[in-house]
């Protein structure tokens, strides 16, 4: 029974397993495996969409039509149909949390027949199907049964999906247990795991040590040094890949002195020791050239200029800014050594310019509140975008007014307009051009220091296989693809 149990060391305990509210990685660990989505995408080429609960789809201006798969049932035995899709999307938009931002351009959802659903968007968007690859489908009966609070209480700790794994139990503080769904419509590999234990192991060092000691089969957020060491030790192999998350990007506060000075920001960007960062990732990283990584569909990255440490340029820029001996404060969310290290590098680079950087490590909420309320000049965070191919969602979170991650309060009207226009353009080449324009605006503003863009490395024990890195989501296991050897 041991071999058929898969133990996953997750970095935290879900606060909810409601797909409409799930926010963080360890919540998705559960929802992604219990529920299915209308479409899937190829992890190796995110622009390529794959059928899932929907077998066909097409866009016609503002209207998208999805044909649904036959014979799919929920874990409780009820059948999946178009009503479920409508109820799910309506509920999601009403709650307005979690991943709802990915589909917030939906105007209405119409059930055409049990196997066909029509979705109308506020404006034409080419990205809808791609973004729906992140939206989990619930059962309309469950929603109806708990309609008082939109099922918020119930879905928080219960689950009934159509997905490869069924929810068994949640032992608070310890683990969530799942079991394999034999009746799943999809295909399991040769020796799939019958039972999955999603353990909550908040301490990164403990995750690493447990993985190495064989207590866990896989772990997320293993500190890089440990991941490389474990992954190259005997009995393990390394799985490498790209993803959007976890590049330490330093956001500079556009409102608070001294970072409100563009020349000053330029000085910081130029002084930054990119090499140190790459070295800290033991060479498994490259230096970014702009907001959109090269492997992202339509990325203009290759055409962008390289960003390099240029101390002379930095000094010149600093001279232009007229801010000698400036002091600034940098907030870092606690628990991410790479982010902290990026700030340390900034500190030591800035020192060469005579600029003092004070680093303050705080819990995430406190750290982001600090910069947003102008108590801090900079903030270190990875990028976040759950959409595998829609850069506009990414831009709006990071660079548009009011975006959650736009912590330094960047604002540029041209960029705002560009981002609004992007989804309406169906020609990929044309979109690429606009994307470059948008990227250039961000680069030129020196709003961000892209410190390094590391590869994601995950040590996988040789006794198991099937793990792949999701480019849009940081280290999450698709349990249905995993198998024991």
């Amino acid at each position: 029974d041991d071999a058929s149990t898969f133990v996953y060391a997750d970095a935290g305990e879900p606060s909810t397993i409601d797909p409409a509210k799930a926010n963080v990685n360890w919540e998705f660990t559960v929802t992604r495996n219990i529920y299915d989505r209308l479409v899937d995408f190829d992890l190796d080429d995110p622009s390529k969409l794959l059928p899932a609960l929907a077998t066909e789809w097409k866009q016609d201006g503002k209207v998208w039509t999805f044909k649904l798969r036959d014979g799919v049932t929920f874990h409780d035995g009820t059948a999946f149909d178009a009503n479920d899709v409508k109820a799910t999307l309506d509920r999601l938009l009403k709650i307005g949390q979690g991943q709802s931002y990915l589909v917030d351009d939906i105007a209405s959802v119409t059930v055409v027949d049990p196997k066909t659903v029509k979705i109308e968007t506020k404006a034409p968007t080419v990205f809808l199907a791609s973004n729906l690859s992140r939206i989990e489908m619930l059962s309309d009966e469950d929603i109806a049964k708990h309609k008082d609070d939109l099922g918020q209480a119930w879905f928080n700790e219960n689950a009934n999906g159509t997905g490869p794994y069924e929810f068994v139990s949640w032992t608070r503080g310890t683990q969530i247990e799942l079991k394999r769904n034999d009746k799943w419509w999809g295909k399991f590999p040769e020796k799939p795991f019958d039972r999955v234990l999603d353990r909550f192991v908040t301490d990164g060092a403990n995750r690493a040590r447990g993985l190495e000691g064989g207590e866990f089969d896989l772990a997320n957020f293993v500190p890089l040094d440990e991941a490389l060491r474990i992954g190259t030790s005997s009995g393990f192999h390394l799985v490498e890949g790209n993803n959007l998350w976890a590049w330490p990007a330093i956001y500079l506060n556009m409102d608070l002195a001294p970072t409100n000075n563009k020349n000053f920001r330029e000085a910081l960007v130029k002084a930054f020791d990119y090499n140190a960062m790459v070295q800290s990732f033991q060479g498994k990283a490259e230096v970014g050239r702009g907001p959109v990584p090269s492997w992202f569909p339509g990325s203009p990255e290759k055409e962008e200029a390289e960003i390099k440490t240029d101390l002379d340029g930095a000094k010149a820029a600093l001279a232009k800014s007229g801010l000698a001996n400036a002091k600034m404060k940098c907030s870092v969310p606690a628990g991410f050594p790479e982010f902290r290290f990026a700030a340390t590098v900034l500190q030591s680079s800035a020192q060469q310019l005579g600029v003092t950087v004070e680093i303050e490590e705080q819990p995430f909420v406190e750290a982001i509140t600090a910069i947003k309320s102008d108590k801090s000049n900079c903030f270190v965070l990875g990028n976040a975008n759950l959409s595998p191919s829609d850069a506009t969602k990414f831009f709006s979170a990071h660079y548009l007014k009011g975006g959650f991650y736009n912590s330094g309060k960047f604002f540029d009207q041209t960029l705002q307009d560009l981002v609004a226009k992007l989804p309406t353009i169906s020609d990929a080449v044309e979109r690429g051009k606009l994307l470059k324009q948008a990227a250039d605006i961000v680069v030129d503003s020196h709003y961000i220091i892209w410190t390094a863009r590391p590869k994601t490395v995950v040590p996988e024990p040789d006794r198991i296989g099937g793990y792949r890195i999701d480019p849009a989501e940081y280290i999450n296991a698709r349990f249905w693809e995993m198998y024991s050897k």
């Binding site: 149990t5 307005g96 931002y101 608070r172 040590r209 909420v365």
Partner: protein
């Protein structure tokens, strides 16, 4: 007696209210927004605001305080934003784990520190005493968190003798929850192997807590025993021709109990503090870890609840100790100060 008990209970209540008031206001001074956490990273400002209203976070502080205190009086410890459950429900879940750890550590501490102190006090200034003194002194200086990590490193990572953390082997099924104490529940379920497994998981966290307590406790107990040894009644006992062992065990020990008890009460306070660190390091699913994780996202209620619960524990321990003094020492009429 009754009056004394009543007085102590009222005082305990005052302490509890004070801790509730202090932690409430302290926690609200923090410049962080738990609603933003709850809403999620991509939520709109309206959503965040809606959540603030739902949780009463938009109301003025005195009003929040009033409703918190009213809830508290009814035994309602508020709601955890992080777990989206009522704190009381969570506590019911996490408290047994902590209590199990505390009780096991405490019993272990008492047994070992007492034996060591006796051993040391048999020959003050002797080699055994010297060794124990040195060990306890070093023990007091060991940072608990560091010790925990070091023990993990050796006993799990290097030697593979003991588990890394948690309360029970991951792949095995824990016995059904009756008391919440795994040691008890596994026995109730009639499973010796489960009992041993839980004991194994308890070993490192308990050892971590105990080493530090032990150091301080043994020092104090030893000092108490040695001080008692210079009392005149010991001379009398020797004059009666009693053997050193009899003098130590029949005369000195009983007299040294009161100071040892005082030290023990103090130790309990430390233990409650250390338990947070130990739970964090050993992924021990108790209230320490619960509160720490909540604290990380500025989820206030669990933190206040931890303060209240641990203070209540402390108050109760103090009360029990106060009641024990007269039993141990007939000179103490139960008139605590």
């Amino acid at each position: 007696m009754i009056a004394f008990l009543l007085k102590r209970l009222v005082w305990g209540l005052v302490v509890l209210i004070a801790v509730a008031v202090i932690t409430f206001f302290l926690s609200r001074v923090v410049p962080a927004d738990p609603a933003a956490f709850l809403a999620g990273q991509n939520a709109s400002e309206e959503t965040v605001q809606r959540i603030r209203v739902e949780h009463g976070l938009d109301r003025p502080l005195p009003e929040q305080f009033a409703s918190y205190m009213i809830g508290l009086a009814k035994g309602d410890l508020g709601e955890s934003i992080r777990t989206r459950r009522s704190v009381s429900t969570d506590l019911k879940q996490y408290l047994p784990a902590t209590l199990e750890l505390l009780i096991v550590s405490f019993v272990l501490y008492l047994a070992v520190s007492f034996s060591l102190a006796v051993l040391a006090a048999r020959r003050p200034g002797g080699a055994v005493d010297g060794a124990i003194r040195l060990i306890t002194m070093v023990g007091t200086g060991i940072p608990v968190f560091w010790l925990g990590m070091t023990l993990q490193f050796f006993f799990f990572y290097k030697l593979h003798w003991l588990p890394l953390g948690a309360r029970f082997p991951i792949r095995e099924t824990a016995p059904p929850v009756v008391s919440g104490f795994l040691l008890v529940d596994s026995l109730l379920a009639g499973s010796l192997s489960a009992f041993l497994a839980s004991l194994k998981h308890l070993t490192l966290p308990a050892a971590t807590i105990v080493v530090n307590l032990l150091a301080v406790g043994t020092r104090l107990s030893r000092a108490a025993l040695i001080q008692e040894q210079s009392r005149l009644y010991v001379r009398t006992a020797r004059g009666k021709g009693l053997s050193p062992n009899r003098i130590l065990f029949k005369h000195i020990l009983r007299n040294a109990l009161s100071p040892i008890l005082t030290a023990t009460t103090m130790q309990f306070g430390y233990m409650i503090s250390w338990v947070i660190l130990v739970e964090v390091i050993f992924d021990w699913p108790g209230i320490g870890l619960y509160a720490y994780q909540s604290f990380q996202v500025f989820d206030y209620s669990p933190v206040i609840a931890l303060a209240i619960v641990s203070t209540a524990g402390f108050v109760i321990i103090n009360l029990v100790m106060d009641l024990l003094y007269p039993v141990i020492d007939p000179r103490v009429q139960s008139v605590g100060s």
